[in-house]
């Protein structure tokens, strides 16, 4: 039995098809992303599966997975909030938002709440500096121009 569902494999195959057959490895970032969406995080099993699927050494997949901070190499909560703390966001109040998030959730950056609901992460520039401070929810949804009130509302919505 395969580690990933047939839907996930079909998605990966679609990514592989975008590159010449001898450059299967080019699909490694997509494959890791698809696997993470399905499994919640990138476990050693996922790394070895992707390595085998793309005919790469596991260490080469691991290099990619550790280079990009949107890959989670440890289990995360249901809601992963990544707050940008680079300079433009800081100038627009990201520090205050960070303090607020930490206080509300009772965790520091890189930690998960005891109930497994939230993980708070510190992120790098997400390319929307004009709308800071901002955060990313589960890698896919961006929330901009954050205020403490807005953060409270968002957190309440995330069950």
């Amino acid at each position: 039995m395969s580690l990933l569902s047939s839907e996930a494999l079909a998605q990966i195959d679609r990514e592989i098809a975008k590159y010449p057959p001898e450059h299967k490895q080019s699909a490694v970032m997509s494959a890791l992303r698809i696997a993470q969406v399905e499994k919640g995080w990138i476990s050693p099993e996922v790394i070895e599966f992707v390595a085998q699927y793309l005919e790469m050494p596991p260490i080469a997949v691991y290099e990619v997975a550790t280079f990009y901070n949107m890959y989670d190499l440890k289990p995360v909560g249901r809601h992963k909030i990544t707050l940008c703390t680079n300079l433009p966001c800081q100038l627009q109040g990201a520090g205050e938002i960070a303090e607020h998030l930490k206080k509300r959730l009772g965790v520091d950056f890189g930690e998960t709440t005891a109930d497994g609901r939230f993980t708070l992460k510190e992120g790098e520039c997400m390319g929307a500096c004009g709308d800071g401070p901002l955060c990313l929810h589960n890698n896919h949804e961006m929330h901009v121009k954050l205020t403490p009130e807005q953060v409270d509302r968002l957190l309440d919505e995330m069950k």
């Binding site: 050693p44 790394i47 050494p57 596991p58 260490i59 080469a60 691991y62 290099e63 997975a65 550790t66 280079f67």
Partner: protein
């Protein structure tokens, strides 16, 4: 061809050459860490920044292609400033532990820091600390010292073909590490020690043993596989401390296999025999002086030859002994009237060739081949560096085909493979012959009834019929096969039909040398298998251990134990003491001058690098004295050179004249594989010779330990209800042994890999045959 000026010197270089290439050609040194001539360009250390006129910023010499009219300054104020800046950055996180670092004195960072580093650091913050990694018994690590040049990572990817180290993480969190804390398993892993420009990766067996400036460097030649890798042996106080590669593009390039690099440990082993020893009637060993030991040998020899004739003696030598020693051994035997002389202990039915079998081409030519057929070769373990050349050939487009009893990972693309159980190997190769015949090729009078070519065989035939530079190579396993002559007959027919050259991969450092000096049975003489099959009264063993190495070690041991006299000329006492009557301590390759002939027919002579240990003497001297004591003529040599001049008066020309791979064809009979489980027994990489066998670090590696286990396909393990990682009873004929069971799904389900030449398996019997596995 663009031309450029570097530091005022003009030079024309090939299109695409870099500034670094041009500088090297001019003999101008540009400081660097990540650049290595054999590896891809990474340009990540930035140490080689140079000033290029009209370029706004300093450029890395290793990654800057030369353009017409470029003017480069490597030592201008701007260049030096850039280089000093890089050095300051590199030193920020590098520990100041040179006094306790093994690399001290041969460290590129240390050397360049003298030229480019500041006298004090402006950095007051804490330095980065990196958790250490365990890479296994060969490589010691101190990863805090790593400067992330990525040479070790690129070596694994590009040369060893096995990417075991990587650089996960980003920025200052980057660390060189293996995946999931695994240990490295590559048989070429030790090269990363030489590649590491700092003390992050150093030699574990050599750790804290000596400083580089205390060591004298002496050239030598590897006595292990038939490549004849060139060595630089480092010695101090009459002792070998370590072995490094001596660069030779034609043979080992700048690499060494781990076997060549670490087997030296055995030279300093406690089991070294340092004085002649004789066994008394009660079976107790006594140290004696040389005259007494030699007189005892010659006295007993005379009595036994008088009583039973010279044919009662068997002369067996290791093909790892020198040309000079092997020449004198066969001369000694023949002078006594004995033709029972051989070095091919591992062969059951030696292949009859017109001359001494060899590679059939130069080693360096292998990487230029475009069609290769490997028959019965576990090549990564037999000749690790030749496997590396094959990988290079495949990378540049060669099609590699494999006919073997195991589908081992060759770490490169294999175009077609025919994998069969040992008894089916002839049939598998016959398929290819049939496919070629179907394609209209003339295969001569080969009778191959009933053989049907599979799809893979046809594809293989089609591939071999294209291309221009082709070779069919018979590995050690094919030569050890009971049907070796049939395999060779087929291989020759295939080579002729496809226009390929036929080559043999000799098993040992001096296999070719043994052949050319006639260390082979003469008319009426017995080969190694014959000498044990028809036991002799007397055995003279030169540097060999038949109880492990013989094609059937059980028969060999019984013959040795029943003999009236066994004289063992050996550097070690631990094994020979079980069956010998006299042990004469002879010098290993580091303690005698001598020569080896490698697989390409190259004669390489070397000098002793240290004096003989204790009362040890070079074997050629021992044989000369034995000749004199027996009253034989022509044993008056004063130097090993005189012996060589007698054996090969024209030197390499004589070697070449005696090489000939033409196989005497035989009828093909073994066309049907046998039923049932079969043993796949090879000479393990770290059991090849007396030295390798006794190197503790090599024994502790993955390959070293793998040889002590038995390996089977998962399906077979499941069918027999066995458990991986647990001991299992292995039965072959009447003998049995207990080995750890390991899983390898690249094996056929009817095959169990149980190594030959191993103390744990030597009681099992012949290398080829059926066996069974039983639950404990």
């Amino acid at each position: 061809m663009p031309s450029l000026t570097i530091d005022g010197k003009r030079i024309e270089v090939a299109q695409g050459a870099t500034v670094m290439d041009a500088a090297r050609e001019l003999g101008i040194f540009i400081p660097h860490f990540c650049y290595h001539k054999k590896l891809s360009i990474a340009a990540n250390c930035r140490m080689c920044l140079v000033e290029v006129e009209k370029a706004p910023k300093p450029l890395p010499a290793c990654a800057t292609p030369v353009t017409e009219g470029m003017v480069v300054h490597t030592h201008s104020e701007r260049a030096i400033k850039a280089q000093k800046g890089v050095m300051e950055l590199l030193l920020i996180n590098h520990p100041l532990d040179c006094p306790i670092c093994d690399q001290g004195g041969e460290c590129q960072l240390q050397d360049l820091a003298v030229g480019y580093g500041g006298s004090r650091s402006r950095y007051t913050e804490p330095k980065r600390v990196v958790r250490d990694k365990d890479l296994g018994p060969l490589i010691a690590t101190e990863m805090t010292r790593c400067i992330h040049c990525s040479r070790c990572v690129r070596f694994g990817q590009e040369i060893a073909g096995l990417m075991e180290l990587g650089m996960p993480g980003r920025g200052e969190h980057t660390e060189v590490m293996p995946y999931l804390e695994r240990q490295v398993t590559s048989e070429l892993s030790g090269n990363v020690i030489d590649l590491c420009p700092v003390g992050a990766l150093t030699s574990k067996p050599f750790r804290y043993a000596a400083r580089t400036w205390e060591l004298a460097r002496r050239p030598s030649v590897s006595p292990h596989d038939a490549l004849g890798a060139n060595l630089e042996v480092h010695v101090k106080d009459k002792r070998v401390y370590r072995v490094l590669p001596r660069e030779n593009e034609a043979i080992n390039e700048c690499w060494l296999a781990d076997r060549d690099r670490f087997a030296y440990q055995a030279l300093n082993a406690d089991s070294r025999l340092t004085r002649p020893m004789v066994r008394d009637e009660a079976g107790l060993w006594h140290e004696v002086d040389w005259p007494k030991a030699l007189n005892q040998v010659t006295g007993a020899l005379k009595v036994l030859i008088d009583a039973h004739g010279p044919g009662a003696v068997g002369f067996l030598a290791s093909p790892h002994q020198t040309v000079e020693e092997l020449h004198l051994l066969q001369k000694f035997a023949r002078a006594l009237g004995c033709e029972n002389i051989d070095t091919r202990l591992d062969l059951t039915n030696p292949i009859a060739t017109a001359g001494t079998p060899w590679l059939g081409m130069a080693i360096a030519e292998v990487e230029a081949l475009d069609r290769i057929l490997l028959v019965g070769a576990t090549i990564r373990k037999e000749q690790p560096l030749l496997a590396q050349r094959l990988r290079k050939a495949v990378k540049s487009g060669a099609e590699l085909h494999v006919v073997h009893a195991a589908d081992d990972d060759l770490l490169c693309r294999v175009a077609q493979r025919l994998i069969a159980k040992p008894s089916g190997l002839v049939a598998a190769l016959a398929q290819l012959a049939v496919a070629l015949r179907e394609a209209g090729q003339d295969l001569g009078p080969l009778a191959l009834e009933g053989v049907i070519a599979t799809e893979a065989a046809r594809a293989m035939a089609q591939s071999l019929l294209t291309g221009s530079r082709k070779a069919v190579l018979l590995g050690a396993y094919a030569q050890q096969h009971p049907a070796a002559a049939e395999l060779a007959t087929l291989a020759q027919a295939i080579a002729r039909a496809t226009g390929a050259s036929l080559g043999f991969l000799p098993a040992a450092a001096n296999s070719v040398g043994a052949g050319v000096v006639g260390c082979r049975p003469g008319a009426g003489g017995l080969d190694a298998a014959g000498m044990f099959g028809q036991p002799r009264k007397v055995y003279v063993l030169l540097g060999c251990e038949p109880e492990l190495e013989a094609a059937d070690p059980v028969v060999a041991r019984a013959a040795l134990e029943a003999a009236e006299l066994v004289v063992a000329l050996t550097p070690f006492q631990d094994r020979a003491s079980a069956y010998a009557h006299v042990m004469l301590p002879i010098a290993p390759f580091t303690e005698t001058s001598g020569s080896f002939v490698n697989m390409e027919g190259r004669l390489q002579s070397f000098e002793a690098v240290v004096p003989p240990l204790g009362e040890t003497r070079p074997a050629w001297k021992v044989l000369r004295v034995l000749g004199n004591l027996m009253g034989l003529a022509g044993f008056q040599h004063d130097t090993s050179r005189e012996v060589l001049a007698e054996a090969l008066p024209q030197g390499e020309a004589d070697v070449r004249a005696r090489l000939d791979n033409a196989v005497a064809p035989v009828a093909i009979r073994m066309l049907k594989p046998q039923e049932g489980l079969e043993r796949l027994a090879e000479t393990p990489i770290y059991q090849l010779d007396l030295l390798t066998r006794r190197a503790p670090a090599l024994q502790a590696t993955f390959d070293g330990e793998a040889a002590a286990a038995c390996w089977a396909h998962g399906a077979l393990i499941e069918r027999l209800g066995l458990t991986v990682d647990k001991p299992v009873k292995v039965r072959q004929g009447d003998s049995e042994t207990i080995l750890k069971l390991m899983r390898d799904d690249r094996l056929l389900p009817e095959v169990v890999r149980v190594a030959a030449v191993h103390p744990l398996t030597s009681r099992l019997g012949p290398r080829f045959g059926g066996l069974s596995l039983e639950k404990m």
